[in-house]
Assembly symmetry: C2
Homo-oligomer: 444 residues x 2
Amino acid sequence: MDPQEDPEIEARFLSDWSGLSVGRPREVHRPRSTEEVAALVRRCHEEGLCITVQGGMTGVAGGAVPAQGDVVINLERMNAIEEIDALEGVMQVQAGATLQQVQEAAEAAGWMFAVDLGARGSCQVGGNAATNAGGIRVIRYGTMRDSVLGVEAVLANGQVVSSLTRLVKNSTGLEPRFLFIGTEGTLGIITRLTLRLHPPMGQAAVAWVAASRFEALPVLLRQLKKKLGSGLCAFEFMSGQYVRTACELTGATVPVQTEGAWHVLIEAAGAAGQCLDEPLQEALMHALEGGDIDDCAMAASQAHRESFWRIREAIPEVLTHLKPPATLDIGLPWARTAEYVQKVAAELQARLPQAQHLFLGHLGDNNLHLISGPLDEAGVHAVDEIAYGALRGCGGTVSAEHGVGRLKKDYLAVSRTPEEIALMRTLKQALDPAGILNPGRIID
Amino acid sequence: MDPQEDPEIEARFLSDWSGLSVGRPREVHRPRSTEEVAALVRRCHEEGLCITVQGGMTGVAGGAVPAQGDVVINLERMNAIEEIDALEGVMQVQAGATLQQVQEAAEAAGWMFAVDLGARGSCQVGGNAATNAGGIRVIRYGTMRDSVLGVEAVLANGQVVSSLTRLVKNSTGLEPRFLFIGTEGTLGIITRLTLRLHPPMGQAAVAWVAASRFEALPVLLRQLKKKLGSGLCAFEFMSGQYVRTACELTGATVPVQTEGAWHVLIEAAGAAGQCLDEPLQEALMHALEGGDIDDCAMAASQAHRESFWRIREAIPEVLTHLKPPATLDIGLPWARTAEYVQKVAAELQARLPQAQHLFLGHLGDNNLHLISGPLDEAGVHAVDEIAYGALRGCGGTVSAEHGVGRLKKDYLAVSRTPEEIALMRTLKQALDPAGILNPGRIID
């Protein structure tokens, strides 16, 4: 029975991975076409009803969590791969297709969709675009902004804007897609997308590095960028404490003997058939000899590579172990990161000594994750205050990839100037004057 | 004497490389700071004066050409390189810095600014951003949209929006830079930018290819993308007629014996110290054996490489030779390009047999240039009608990199849906209700 007609609206429409729950929607709709979405929005526009847009419900900022009395528009039935141009490497899809579906369809056509993240099986490309998702290969391929060529979106008045361009280059005024990518459904509902595909990557070279000082990491990263160019795919740093916890929980072994304060998982890959093991190893040997790093190991087999990544990807186990946790996705310039981590770690340890505070992140994308737990509600709030407070004046962001949603609204001014926020309000007012599209997200 | 006080406003402020001249401005200002720009705009806002924003005056769409009675704000004095973060590869500059200044400052800091184009010595990065300039390396590094991390802009009411972020990843709502990049000064005046730098490229491998059928080119390009990945930097195709004309004018020799209907200049480069000669040669041998291409040659020395590029870069000589010319920068999907070229070439030949019609372009960026000439005004109009007319329904664009400016406004609907244009108008109305910023550009 369709939830639309069902008095018992299923629990899965009420919350996302943040666990936040706000209220009970009056209706849940799962349209199959853009026209159905437009008709729903027109009705809400006329009747003054608020809309919550839902994708795969894997967000952690509460963006897809409905308020009491909302009309939910869930896109899970709009999941068609509509067209693939296998010559040029361009795909057109409905917004509710999962990331994994898109990746598999690209692969079947001899191409690769470059954005990848842990929630791939559930998250939807429309949601990925609305939050400008990043993931594990941003250093090489960028975020969703770099992989979306065009969008079709339904505006707050129910009008459909078709901007399904598939061109790499277009200089004919405003690109509508940038109004909808990253604005979390507050300016329009993305219903279809044209996506840019990349040639498949060759076999990856994977290494593990230990260093005693955080300051060594940006220096190493710069060296690797210069040595490997766009061959560098991942530069994932982890605190020693994260690595120990992850290894304990998964039974994995740290790939190096040295007990480093910091560890880095490095991946490099060229085109198909190309091998970057040698230049990667050379660069690491150089760093070792120069005293920048303390230890390193190259993965010698596919099993090795997977065991290295297993540690980095133990985040779900770590989150469960530290439940209930706080999980942050700060961004800041390389040069500010070491000082920031030191300051925040000390303050967290002093204020919340009973919890673990684990740092990790994608340094190449300026992205620093912090996982703290177990924490009660006051503890989660204290982590936010400490971590976002220390970010002021750093040129950083309170969200590098999760989005602002409902949960980070109060901290938006940490990463945006008053004039930027005023500009956001001007656009919201111009495109959704009644404020019916995802109200309560990003700005009030 | 400052033109501001000078009754004789210099000719260089009246027109750009398009040669278009519309009227005489009432004032020309060359401010030195954002505050001065803001004060000027506030005055124009209060007095209802129209503003023309000027960069290096190298545009070919008339975007910087003032109308009678305009207040010109020329940014040439705002040319400071303000800051370089040599660790991370980020630069902050004023908008009036020339592209070459930016490239040289990046190089001096051990990095590279990736956008490059023929007008580098005169064009300014602010203008490059306002028109979303592309150039010769888009296939690898993208357009200005991909190299600008943040902007500061002055709105139509004189308010300064500072969004000088330097983060690769930021998911905290609308990115202000995308309102100003590519909108040609109609929504705000870009005054400062943060730019992303890349590691320097290694020695390039350069090849020349001849093919009898255009259809072979996208197939070859796909093969090269798969073989070389992001190592592929340029895939510049030229019609046989363009190559003959360019060689006659420059005294250059075609690098291959075969008189192909189509020629391609291919460049591949990896990181510093990496050489891609071998994989490029392998891929071309494969294409030759498969019958996709008719002939190819690899450049064996730096002199060779330069002589190959000399032919591609003979456009200024060709334009002078065909003076007065029509010069178009269409974009369209690979799969439609062969048919489009055939159709348009036949129609041009039939309607304007006295002129030469030369095709060339950056296929990897969907970009097709057409140079026709010599032509009178009616002839230029006929070329526009034929070339843009044939573009309808192709999913293409009337401007891949030059911008719409004053000259392509009438054809905007060829590449934008009515809803996209309505959205542009909504934003213009929201941000510049009196229409004082660069009126008469992109949309009326």
